[in-house]
């Protein structure tokens, strides 16, 4: 079933290096959490099963569950922490992870709308981001490219970050410095000062209206020409503040850490250097918080784009931010580090059924938090679980097109939370109807000996117990309990092929409709 050529085998030496480079920070982060747990009087959950951890990683980094083929390859390797790091190497080599991360980051950078068609191509920006992630471009460089982008949205895809803000219905032509300032602070710095667009801070006296508009002033010169986005030199930004009669010129200034702002250079280049400066802690904290959120399904500091500049900070955040800067904003290194920490590798349930996990334990990261999966993760999960082979780049073109089309349809029907992707969402009746009766699940579980895992497993596994186990691995990335095996093997025994196909379909349907399938845990 598994072709050896598709099994990536990173060198053992690399494994050692990785292990050594993350160890110190992982230990420090773990110690911080252990201290916090002791202080809060919460008991950490037991370590999670390795299969549970690789399911989390695949969902976070590829938007899908591991295939049966991948699970077999994983289990063929020796147990231990190295095995998880090997799994990460495997995911990083799979272009699905770059594509998926690109989509997740694009939501924060430009939102989900298709925007002004004539001057903006969201798809180009996403594929540019994907290329950056594939090369593991340092995150600070990537962000600088976005802030200071120039040129045509077609040939310089990063310029779409700027052109996304053009509103063709408004009288003002060209990029919108207000929207750009809001994106810059929220997405890159984890600071919300865009409320100060219209008034001073109502929840404290930290921010003034000037803070926001002086930041926006860096973008004021950006305009659209035949050659794309260019800066008009010496353009003065003017704004009428609340309570004032007239517009007044607004100088370029940053809302905090002014000493990090270069004194010379083009306005957006200065802003880009300030924002991504190694000593601009807001930048590294925001980056850590986002990676944490993608991996866990919940940010370390809530809300994801509202991190206090002066703390207090939860355990882990400062150490991870230090480490991220020390490793030159290497996102893969950060992912590896977080994935190796105790909070990430704890079970989401307690080992003692008489003393179940409490919400307080979850809030303290003393148990892996339960979070609702995003719609494309559910769709990706259904599609992958219904196939025995890995649906990566090497899967047939037909399969990939099908996966893409199905996913978009499904996400639309499910309801896309858009940019608010880490908000606490509620499940809905239409979502349950979609899973119970919708096309995707029906097509991917009904008898089809060529395409569908349900039928193929039913036909290949003479032993019902093994068929049930394979179905569980495909859909839930775990083995069934003895009770579950007994129940489902019973439905498969002594049946004619048609009846068995139907029983396999029912089994797949049941697993996909279980709570467990729809949650990260």
């Amino acid at each position: 079933m598994l072709s050896p050529s598709k099994t990536p085998a990173p060198a053992a030496v690399e494994g050692d290096r990785t292990e050594a480079s993350i160890r110190a920070t992982v230990d420090r982060v773990n110690a911080e959490f252990a201290a916090a747990w002791a202080e809060a009087g919460v008991e950490p959950a037991p370590p999670a099963d390795d299969l549970a951890v690789i399911r989390r990683l695949s969902l976070g980094l590829t938007g899908s569950v591991p295939s049966l083929e991948e699970i077999r390859a994983f289990e063929a390797r020796p147990e231990g922490p190295r095995r998880i790091q090997w799994w990460l190497s495997h995911l990083f080599e799979d272009s699905r992870s770059a594509d998926y991360l690109a989509e997740r980051y694009a939501r924060a950078f430009v939102g989900v709308e298709n925007g002004p068609f004539l001057v903006y191509r969201r798809g180009r920006l996403v594929s540019w981001l994907s290329g950056q992630f594939r090369e593991n471009r340092p995150y600070d460089e990537l962000v600088r490219d976005l802030i200071a982008a120039e040129g045509l949205w077609t040939s310089n895809p990063e310029a779409n970050f700027i052109t996304a803000t053009i509103d063709q219905n408004e009288k003002k032509r060209g990029p919108d410095e207000i929207k750009l300032a809001a994106r810059t602070t929220r997405a890159f710095l984890g600071v919300r000062i865009d409320c100060m667009q219209c008034h001073d801070d109502k929840f404290g006296d930290r921010w003034k209206q000037e803070d926001f508009h002086q930041l926006a002033a860096f973008y004021a010169g950006a305009e659209m020409r035949i050659t794309g986005v260019q800066d008009r030199k010496n353009k003065v930004y003017e704004f009428r503040y609340l309570g004032e009669r007239d517009e007044q010129p607004v100088p370029q200034a940053v809302p905090f850490s002014p000493e990090l702002l270069p004194t010379s250079g083009a306005p957006r280049e200065r802003l880009a250097k300030w924002a991504t400066h190694p000593e601009n802690r807001a930048f590294s904290r925001a980056a850590v918080n986002r990676v944490w959120a993608i991996l866990f399904g919940r940010p370390l500091v809530e809300a994801i784009d509202d991190i206090p500049l002066e703390g207090p900070y939860p355990p882990g955040l400062e150490s991870l931010a230090d480490d991220f800067v020390a490793h030159d904003f290497d996102l893969r290194h950060l992912i590896r580090t977080i994935a190796a920490t105790r909070p990430y590798t704890l079970d989401s349930r307690s080992g003692d059924p008489a003393r179940p996990v409490t919400e307080a334990e979850e809030m303290h990261w003393a148990a892996f938090p339960l979070t609702r999966l995003r719609p494309e993760q559910i769709a990706g999960g259904v599609t992958q679980a219904a196939s025995l082979d890995t649906l990566d780049d090497e899967a047939s073109v037909l399969r990939r097109i099908q996966r893409f089309g199905d996913r978009n349809q499904f996400v639309k029907r499910w309801g896309d939370p858009g940019e608010e992707e880490f908000a606490e969402l509620t499940g809905t009746i239409p979502q349950r109807l979609l899973m119970m009766n919708g096309n995707l699940v029906k097509e991917r579980t009904s008898p089809n000996p060529v395409m569908n895992a349900s039928t193929r497993i039913g036909a290949l596994s003479g032993d019902p117990t093994r068929a049930v186990e394979a179905a569980y691995l495909c859909v839930l990335t775990r083995r069934p309990t003895p009770e579950e095996t007994e129940f489902f093997a019973g439905t498969l025994e002594k049946r004619n092929p048609n009846a068995r196909n139907r029983a396999m379909e029912d089994l797949f349907w049941t697993l996909m409709n279980a709570t467990e399938f729809s949650w990260n845990h």
């Binding site: 179940p356 996990v357 509620t426 499940g427 009746i429 109807l433 119970m436 839930l476 279980a514 709570t515």
Partner: protein, 429 residues
């Protein structure tokens, strides 16, 4: 009849939907069992006759000047005109000719004030009657109604949002199960309501699901399902809908053209018509959203375009409810997150204005043909005469429904009351 074990999928024959179809009956109002309907009719309490709410939500911020509160002779009018209405002495914007005819059913509050000028925060404030708080999520009016009045015992959700905007009605601290059920343009069936397998296989699937859920629950919070996932709860609700004929109330496609035309050939118009059907079927609260009011530029054109859609739908809804004897028991609220600045900005637009704007209330014991409050004709930022803070609207609507706004709940560790507003007796009959 055929036994449920029959392999032809005969279990379908047992669902009420199929039975009814076989009987060749049409219409939906009678589908709520007679006893329930009588019970609903008998819900009259000592205070408040109303038992349901329709909220027409003008998302983005409708301009009071171009809808319910024109100042045609003032420089702030942008040249917009006003027309007479069925209530002597009260004029509306010329954008609302049909509404003008039914204004004798409406209590118009022209002096609503709130403290929120941001779309999201203001939407929260108007829908819940509270300012956003970092520690608690307040339930919206529909969730309050569903939580406080008894369960009408119908097969479809009792809190519905049609053409949901960005911030739909939430259950807040009453929990996710009080969130509104969302649907889109009601010319289409609710998708995926038909089971794919016969009942015998459904039953087997349910049995299997029990086994999987049991394994998942081990070591987890016993209240996980009730407090957070609602997974099995929603599945059970979904199943109940799947076998109910009441889902027809979500769809207006089969209604005769003569019923549909007055509401206007728009998704919002159809939404209002579906709202009427849903209320008739026993639903407690329906929210219908019309987006597109945020006229920072070209205010006049924007408001005109929006009003054309609103006017036909709103007036037809009021007429229809009245004709069917449902207006006494239904509060119809036409509201928006804030009004718009009386002074026009540099690009012929109006910006956000929470300092005196309009909300219209009709039915459910609200006075007929009555106006409260007055805004400054010159558009100065001063308190409107007889101002009505938004929380007072909530308290008054709750009162009309026989709900005591002072009813206390614990949210997190904190006691909260349904509304801290004042009941405005002068708005009620």
């Amino acid at each position: 009849m055929i036994s449920p074990e029959c392999p032809c999928g005969a279990a379908d024959h047992w669902s009420r939907r199929t039975l009814l179809k076989a009987a060749g009956l049409s219409g939906i109002a009678w589908l709520t069992p007679l006893a329930d309907r009588l019970a609903l009719a008998a819900e009259a309490r000592s205070v408040g006759q109303a038992r349901s709410v329709i909220l027409l939500w003008l998302a983005g911020g409708a301009s009071q000047l171009d809808t319910f509160d024109p100042h045609p002779d003032s420089p702030v009018a942008q040249g917009a005109k006003a027309i007479d209405t069925s209530v002597k002495g009260i004029r509306l914007s010329e954008n609302l000719p049909q509404t003008a005819e039914i204004l004798d059913e409406v209590t118009l509050v022209r002096s609503v004030v709130s403290q929120e000028g941001d779309h999201e925060r203001a939407t929260y404030a108007i829908k819940t009657g509270y300012r956003p708080s970092p520690t608690i999520v307040h339930p919206s009016i529909g969730a309050v109604v569903c939580h406080e009045l008894h369960d009408p015992g119908i097969d479809i959700p009792t809190h519905v949002s049609i053409l949901t905007g960005r911030w739909p009605a939430r259950g807040g601290h009453f929990g996710a199960k009080y969130d509104a059920f969302q649907i889109w343009d009601p010319v289409n069936d609710i998708p995926d309501v038909r089971a794919r397998v016969p009942e015998e296989r459904e039953a087997r699937r349910r049995a299997g699901l029990d086994a999987v859920e049991k394994a998942f629950a081990r070591g987890r919070d016993p209240k996980l399902e009730a407090d957070r996932t609602l997974h099995l709860t929603n599945m059970a609700e979904a199943r109940r809908m799947m076998t109910s004929e009441q889902i027809a109330a979500f769809n207006v496609a089969d209604l005769p053209e003569s019923d549909r035309a007055p509401y206007g050939d728009t998704p919002f118009g159809r939404g209002c018509l579906a709202a009427r059907q849903l209320i008739e079927a026993g639903v407690r609260c329906v929210e219908v959203t019309l987006t597109g009011w945020d006229s920072h530029a070209n205010n006049l054109e924007t408001q005109q375009r929006q009003c054309a859609v609103l006017d036909a739908a709103y007036a037809s809804l009021i007429r229809d409810l009245r004709r069917r004897g449902l207006l006494e028991s239904t509060v119809v609220i036409c509201g928006t997150e804030f009004g718009r600045t009386p002074k026009v900005n540099g690009i012929d637009g109006r910006d956000h204005w929470p300092h005196g704007f309009s909300i219209a209330l009709a039915g459910g014991g609200f006075r007929r043909g009555h106006v409260v409050g007055e805004t400054d004709p010159h558009g100065e930022k001063k308190e409107p005469a007889d101002k009505v803070p938004v929380e007072d609207i909530h308290a008054t609507v709750q009162h009309a429904l026989g709900i005591d706004p002072a009813t206390e709940y614990t949210a997190g560790q904190r006691p909260v009351i349904l509304s801290d507003g004042r009941v405005r007796e002068n708005l009620l009959l």
